[in-house]
Subunit: 360 residues, 2 copies
């Protein structure tokens, strides 16, 4: 069993902390560890750091090396450029030499999970399900008709593996409308696609050959240096969900293992606010949460549902705020209503349009 | 006719822009001029800069000199320490040598007035009323039952001077309860005390001798150097309103000239937000207002009723905010709900209690 961590996401919705030079996986958003470090740490002891591989843009090799001293340097697979997850997963399948019946766990580098023991139990169960060649996804219970996630529709009765249910998947659905999301949730068979997949290496390669042969072909020319550069210039940029899991699910080859392990994709400042306040309130704390970096301090007077990330080395004082996010960095400050967190992207787009590259 | 500008206020409610080292009068909050510069400028041509005097704490002598090159250096009266307005006005009356029937205009250094011509007309009318020895206050129309202002209750029919009405004052009332304020406004005879007074120098000295003899006596020992230091250590710290105008009004010696000249005391970030948005909306602009200093830029996405003061030399991005104040400085950031602007004082109090002197 081995893990392939995809550290490719830009995380522009977490601007101004997430930057081109240090994107989301390399940030300590929820504690002292970076998201990448936490992703590796929570796999142990199920998967040893020696069996953890990373796929990342070559420009982040230095950051990976700096943050992951426990993982062998040779386990870093560098992409010449980001081309979405299908190419990254295919590259990992082809270039990491493991026995063909080894079980590969694919997971994003920038998610959060609070129940790490429960998460490892789910991975172990998923690995058992994957032993027969199934492609297995982890699915989380939807707690709102979110339109930003993919949905996995389960069918039939579950088989129970390692004390956990595993369902056959009827189909994958990309980000639905709110109305459709509501219907899906009411149906009682929908799970959010957590972007965490478990499969045998040979099953993955067979699946890619069947459903996305162009991607394997594009990478056939070579897996290193300028060959890979040329291949990546050609390869289709698409998600592994769309390239593989959607069509495979229609042929009954996909299973889902539901998880309830405090998962969040931390996909926006609002998601981080929600995750951190849920923790704080559960521990009897206040709903004013966040982190003060070196030289920074915070003072709050009577706010609620407030995330303050003080990374600007300054005092951040907040008074009477509600449902807000304050992200302070040395060269840029963001103050954003939590329910408008998706629009942080518009700020980044405007900076890009204005050519303000050093603030991206 | 001469002016005495009181530049003593700390303006802690405008933290973190207003600091001990550079308090409110010395800040450019509403345009390119500082509040002090604007206060001097709007008196012309009614009162020439040569006839403008300042009373300020000695530690601000450098700032005054730097900002007011038009005013003769000799016109600065320095206090050894701030002891509220009664002592400052008495010091000005005693130490500035002018003919005893000259009319003195006393005004704060940190207010805002949009209709400057109307304001000068009101001062000229007030000077005419003051010619008979009356103590004259300017009063603004209350537009809400504010509890932070003093109220002036007019009585009887006005005399008309220079086209403007002037009323006899029945009494002064210090900051009332909201209920009382509502009653006062409904009565139709109440004005807010703008802290701007017009009187003959001899009438002022007579009034002080009658109603606050202890203050004149305390200053009798000497008006300079260590004598003044000793006097100021003894003098009662009270407002000129309380020491002089309240008791004088009860003996029918005070008049009020109503003004409607876009006055604001800029007493809090909420007051500044209100003043600037009113201007902007009147000019067809948006209700996102503020100022970006050197090296600073701002980006806003869909906010309303927002004041952004970007003085930290950085980018300030705001998304979906409403009724908020964002004040960015190099070493401290404030994000405050406009309706909680009074509580900025609590932040300052906490910093003081923690001994964070360089952030005060």
């Amino acid at each position: 069993m081995y893990a392939v961590i995809l550290a490719g996401g830009g995380g522009t919705r977490l601007w101004p902390l997430s930057r081109v030079a240090r994107p989301k996986p390399f940030l300590a958003l929820t504690g002292d560890e970076t998201l990448l470090q936490a992703t590796v740490a929570r796999l142990q002891p199920l998967i040893d750091p020696a069996d953890v591989y990373l796929v990342a843009d070559g420009r982040y090799a230095g950051l990976v090396k700096e943050q992951l001293r426990v993982v062998p340097e040779a386990n870093l697979v560098t992409e010449p450029v980001g081309r979405n997850t299908a190419a990254a997963v295919a590259l990992a399948a082809l270039s990491i030499e493991r026995p063909s019946d080894d079980v590969m766990v694919v997971l994003p580098a920038d998610h959060r999970i609070t129940d790490v023991a429960g998460f490892r139990d789910a991975l172990a169960a998923a690995a058992e399900v994957a032993a027969d060649g199934s492609l297995v996804a982890l699915g989380t219970e939807p707690d709102a008709p979110a339109t930003g996630y993919g949905y996995i529709l389960a069918q039939g009765k579950p088989r129970v593996v390692g004390g956990m249910p595993a369902f056959s998947v009827e189909r994958f659905l990309e980000k639905p409308s709110e109305e459709r999301a509501r219907e899906l949730i009411e149906g009682g068979r929908a799970h959010w696609n957590a972007g965490i997949f478990v499969w045998r290496r040979d099953a993955l390669l067979e699946g890619l050959a069947r459903y996305a042969p162009d991607i394997l072909e594009a990478l056939g020319g070579g897996l290193e240096g300028s060959d890979l550069g040329a291949a990546y210039a050609e390869v289709r940029a698409t998600s592994i969900d769309y390239a593989l899991l959607e069509p495979a699910s229609l042929e009954g080859r996909v299973a889902v293992v539901p998880i309830a392990v405090g998962w969040s994709d931390l996909g926006s400042w609002a998601a981080l606010l929600e995750a951190l306040t849920a923790d704080a309130l559960a521990q009897g704390g206040s709903s004013v949460v966040g982190h003060a970096g070196d030289g920074a301090t915070t003072i709050d007077i009577d706010s609620t549902d407030l995330l303050v990330h003080a990374a600007g080395g300054r005092l951040v004082a907040t008074v009477g705020l509600e449902g807000l996010v304050v992200i302070d960095t040395p060269d840029a400050l963001l103050v954003c209503a939590a329910d408008r967190a998706q629009d942080v992207k518009r700020v980044v787009d405007r900076l890009a349009a204005e050519g303000q590259r050093d603030r991206l």
